[in-house]
Symmetry: C2
Subunit: 312 residues, 2 copies
């Protein structure tokens, strides 16, 4: 494993893939891998790209990658796929792979499942991003579908979040009203040659203007990813946000939040394992039936469980 | 507090409201309250109602309540509100309250915030449902907005989940493809007098037919909640699902899942408190800076934290 880590840190894609697989499958070596790569992290820029299915994320990413590579940056891509029983999963990764960049030596593309078909980012998503960071990628793009928890989780690990909207999806604005809007640092209105795109741009701008007192006013960039129009401008808006973060307390705040999250996720995971073990014993002993027949209550059971866990 | 619990168990709405407030605010008395009411739970039927903003959930609920009350059932309603900075929160509860049933002695209506504007069900949602159960409500309706995590969480606590769709929202079908579809036991296509409603009904039916091997085939019910059309049929479909659960292993499975969740949520919450305390001390001592400058790594920090927590 030492040899693989060394080669991965040198930029070898095959070795990087093996590290990610080990961490994703929670192999025994994961802890060692992460401890070895961690000192080399902190240089890459993590961009989250999210939006409804059909918003054109893959095409947009493809063009964005071209633009960033032209600027001399090396790129890692993590595509988080909701593995729907209807589609068979891994759709986005495949779609990306069908496009231009999979054979390009500067781009590393990896698709990962989400936690259940509705769930959040999978356990290994953030670790994969850290591995790509340590292994020399300048930019890590994390693509999530704007459904359920993964869209929300992305905020916790990305430096900058881009939200793709498209005209003609009736509830975009309504969804935004309910809160999705707050997660985006850059708004992309894709398929801007469609009817209604100007209305979407206008409405988003109005909403953003209503949010007063924020240091960073998210730009709204119309693009036609298919032809590449506007993608350059979108790339520039992303860089602007990166520069803003570098010079503002918000950047510091996000870094601290991410460090907190790193530690807390590991602690949660470990405690969950310990609890699960104790809990499984109780379940085998019929505790769920006791609850069902109200012979005990969840508070008493939880208290017992807790004192057992804490006393080792 | 004993007196209030006693009155609440007798059905007094004012006392029920006070218990829910105590539990929601995590008052010292919460544990005692929940331990006192728990033995009286297990009789009510929990229905989750979810769907996009604008799908007409409040109107549908209003009519559903009328129909259930006509059948002699007493009703509790918990409306989970995404407290958006744009709307000021508590919208759904207000909307319900503006309609017919708030003064009706048979209906108890409570609106609760969601965990952050994008987050899941708030801490007290399930407890509130249990309190309503213990205090004699036959049916507890839990309304969540179909955005983010609360829609997903509802599955964990409801016996039956109804998903409201409306024609003319471009991405309904796409969202369903990505997984939302799996959570629903009954599909309601509301505003069925609108153009395109037949297409939505047909498409949902096709998708449901593709899911083979399931014992319960969710019905798709067109309604016009505004006029009340179809609501009776929707109510009957909900009862059908309840009867199905009562006689199938799936019903048993859901009960067990819920009991697991009850205990696990309490354990998680308690451990989180202990971790937080230890963690806060480390943060004050500058551990986040150590991480920022890579003087240590999250795995080492998490390991230290964990052994501290587990050794008491």
């Amino acid at each position: 494993m030492d040899r693989i880590i060394e080669k991965a840190l040198g930029g070898d894609h095959r070795s990087i893939a093996r590290l990610i697989t080990a961490v994703e499958s929670e192999a025994d070596s994961s802890r060692k891998i992460m401890q070895s790569v961690y000192p080399h992290t902190g240089k890459a820029y993590f961009i989250g790209v999210t939006g409804s299915p059909g918003a054109g994320k893959s095409t947009f990413l493809d063009k964005l990658i071209s633009s960033m590579m032209a600027a001399g940056q090396s790129i890692g891509v993590i595509a988080v796929d909701p593995s729907s029983p209807f589609t068979g999963g891994a759709v986005l990764g495949d779609r990306l792979r069908m496009q231009g960049h999979s054979l390009d030596p500067g781009v590393f593309i990896r698709s990962m499942g989400s936690r259940g078909s509705l769930g959040g980012l999978s356990r290994g998503t953030y670790e994969a991003a850290l591995i790509l960071d340590a292994c020399g990628k300048d930019v890590v793009l994390i693509e999530t579908v704007g459904v359920g928890q993964s869209e929300i989780d992305i905020v916790k690990i990305a430096d900058t979040v881009a939200l793709l909207l498209v005209p003609g999806m009736g509830d975009d604005i309504q969804i935004m009203k309910a809160g999705i809007m707050e997660i985006a640092d850059v708004f992309i209105v894709n398929k801007a040659d469609r009817d209604g795109s100007e209305r979407v741009v206008r409405e988003v701008n109005i909403m953003l203007d209503l949010q007063s007192g924020k240091e960073w006013r998210p730009p709204v960039v119309p693009t036609i990813a298919e032809s590449g129009e506007g993608v350059e401008l979108a790339a520039r808006s992303l860089s602007d946000h990166r520069r803003y973060l570098a010079s503002s307390p918000e950047g510091e705040r996000r870094k601290r939040r991410r460090h907190r999250l790193e530690v807390e996720e590991i602690v949660k995971r470990e405690i969950a394992k310990i609890v699960e073990k104790t809990w499984d014993d109780r379940i085998s002993a019929g505790i769920l039936e006791d609850l069902e027949y109200r012979r005990t209550d969840p508070y008493t059971v939880a208290g017992d469980l807790l004192s057992k866990v804490l006393s080792g």
